[in-house]
């Protein structure tokens, strides 16, 4: 393990190394027409930030991503609990869920656009579908995997099924749910952006697509950089929330040390 400060320093240096190599190769080895350059990209980002034109796109993509993420994860978690607790329902639905999950999401995007128009709604639905399955499968396995002995211990103490749900099943499933949510964030963003690529009049995906069609690699990389930044920020927020919620879990190092009697 290295200290936190040092870790951030190394990360910063690595990022700097990437940018500098990009800057140096651009114009020297490769024509900036193809790969633009960090100075051009940051210049572009500065411009669209100071004139405010990027914010409308950013806002719409974030709106689609988070609305979809919210609806998809709530329904995924709810459905995961429902099926894990209603065995028959799970058995009946199993092949349908497998089949539906097997459809590439991108194949659904054009249909959603036909159904729900080129506005944000079609993208939200796409994100919902993506997030739903990730959280559903994780929640389902989590609820299924709850240690029956823990539930029995509480039953013997006189707990009702409702109390067992709140005191055992839900806390035991939290690690699985957070794993599902963590996986979902980048996919949610990808869902929204893919939807915007196919048909939209606003959003970061639209912006990237538009710039690419004008052969403006600077504009495309600008949009991509913003997307990357959003993913990193969201991931940080989720990791911190997870660390707090799961503070009862042994850290890897202590877990591998074995029992101390």
């Amino acid at each position: 393990m290295i200290g936190r400060g040092r870790l951030y320093l190394y990360r910063f240096l690595f990022g700097l190394f990437l940018l500098v190599s990009w800057e140096l190769s651009s114009g020297r080895f490769i024509d900036p027409f193809w790969i633009s350059s960090p100075s051009r990209v940051f210049g572009y980002l500065w411009e669209v930030t100071s004139d405010g034109s990027i914010f409308a796109h950013l806002a719409i993509t974030l709106y689609e991503t988070f609305t979809g993420f919210f609806i998809g994860s709530l329904t995924g978690i709810g459905f995961g609990f429902l099926l894990a607790r209603k065995e028959i329902l799970a058995q009946v639905l199993d092949p349908f869920i497998v089949a539906f999950n097997g459809i590439p999401r991108i194949a659904l995007a054009p249909i959603f656009i036909i159904w729900f128009g080129i506005g944000p709604n079609s993208k939200i639905i796409l994100v919902v579908i993506v997030v739903f399955f990730l959280t559903f499968f994780n929640t389902y396995s989590g609820v299924k995997g709850v240690d029956i002995e823990l539930k029995n211990i509480l039953r013997i103490m006189g707990a009702s099924e409702r109390q067992i749900l709140w005191k055992v099943t839900i806390p035991a499933t939290v690690p699985w749910i957070t794993t599902g949510l963590k996986l979902s964030v980048p996919y949610a963003l990808v869902g929204a952006v893919v939807g915007e690529f196919i048909a939209a009049s606003k959003g970061l995906g639209y912006l990237i697509n538009y710039n690419t069609s004008l052969f403006s690699t600077t504009g495309a990389f600008g949009g991509i950089l913003v997307l990357a930044l959003i993913v990193v920020l969201c991931n940080e927020v989720i990791e911190r929330t997870e660390a707090y919620l799961l503070r009862w879990r042994p850290r890897e190092e202590t877990r591998s040390q074995g029992e101390l009697y």
Partner: protein, 269 residues
């Protein structure tokens, strides 16, 4: 007791196991795990059960607490047939089964929480027990931060806290080292003396079985039957640290080991 006092001489046992059998079906094969076991336990008694591994000891406890249905025979608790989980019986399992997301104090309190006891009240009761078993400084630790012996102590007091009439203990000190075991045996006896609970305690260690018990039940190898029930005529309070050296202890040990040895050998074959 008042008007309905039992006639002298016919004290009904707290628990009576009458010809209890249990069969399991696994991979299409029938396994007889427990073969018409009979046993009665009176209020305030400390009964230990010894038997080779796999002879149906845990199965017997699962039947008593109502986690498993009987295949035949019956089990009466306060004269009522056991039918489903009985919350008047506490069950301390070999695996500590503490909830990993709760601190030690929160784990100890949980049964009171289930009963709707107010927060300050239940914390007070938990703290008292935690202090009695020497875990005061660890109240806010999560289970993974505690040693095996500490977790097992927490496992025991979280059952004592709600005061069930009968407490079943399934090899609670099994995974602990010899010294920790003695310390916990001593603490258990002292808790038992002050609370006057009825305890059925399973162990595969004959020394432990005799040191703790009023009566020792020896079981046969699978399918488990009750082979012998023997009283332990050693005065209380007992000094757990010295008891092995006494003459009375040795004679009980020798006579019971004669019963247990062939069963252990048979189970090993």
């Amino acid at each position: 007791m008042g008007l309905f006092q039992q006639p002298v001489g016919i004290v009904t046992p707290l628990l009576s196991v009458e010809g209890a059998s249990k069969e399991f079906y696994s991979r299409g094969k029938k396994v007889l795990a427990l073969d018409s076991a009979s046993l009665s336990v009176h209020e305030g008694e400390f009964v230990t059960i010894v038997g080779p591994s796999g002879c149906g000891k845990s199965t017997l406890l699962n039947l008593i607490v109502g986690l498993l249905p009987l295949s035949s025979g019956r089990i009466l608790f306060r004269d009522r047939a056991v039918n489903g989980i009985n919350p008047e019986i506490g069950y301390i399992t070999q695996k500590d089964n503490l909830l990993p997301w709760r601190t030690l104090a929160q784990n100890v309190e949980i049964a009171l929480e289930i009963r709707g006891v107010e927060k300050s009240e239940r914390r007070e009761q938990a703290e008292e027990l935690i202090e009695r078993v020497g875990l005061k400084d660890f109240e806010d630790h999560y289970p993974h931060e505690l040693s095996g012996g500490m977790r097992q102590r927490a496992n025991i007091i979280r059952t004592l806290i709600y005061d069930p009439d009968l407490i079943l203990m399934d090899e609670p000190f099994g995974p602990l080292d010899a010294q920790t075991r003695i310390v916990l045996q001593e603490q258990l006896l002292s808790l038992w003396t002050t609370t006057k609970k009825t305890i059925i305690f399973i162990t595969h260690d004959l020394v432990e079985a005799i040191a703790l018990a009023d009566r020792v039940v020896v079981m046969t190898s699978r399918p488990g039957r009750v082979k012998r029930v023997a009283g332990v005529p050693i005065a209380r309070p007992r000094d757990i640290y010295q008891i092995h050296q006494s003459q009375e202890f040795r004679s009980v040990y020798e006579s019971l080991w004669k019963e247990l040895k062939p069963e252990v050998k048979m189970a090993g074959e």
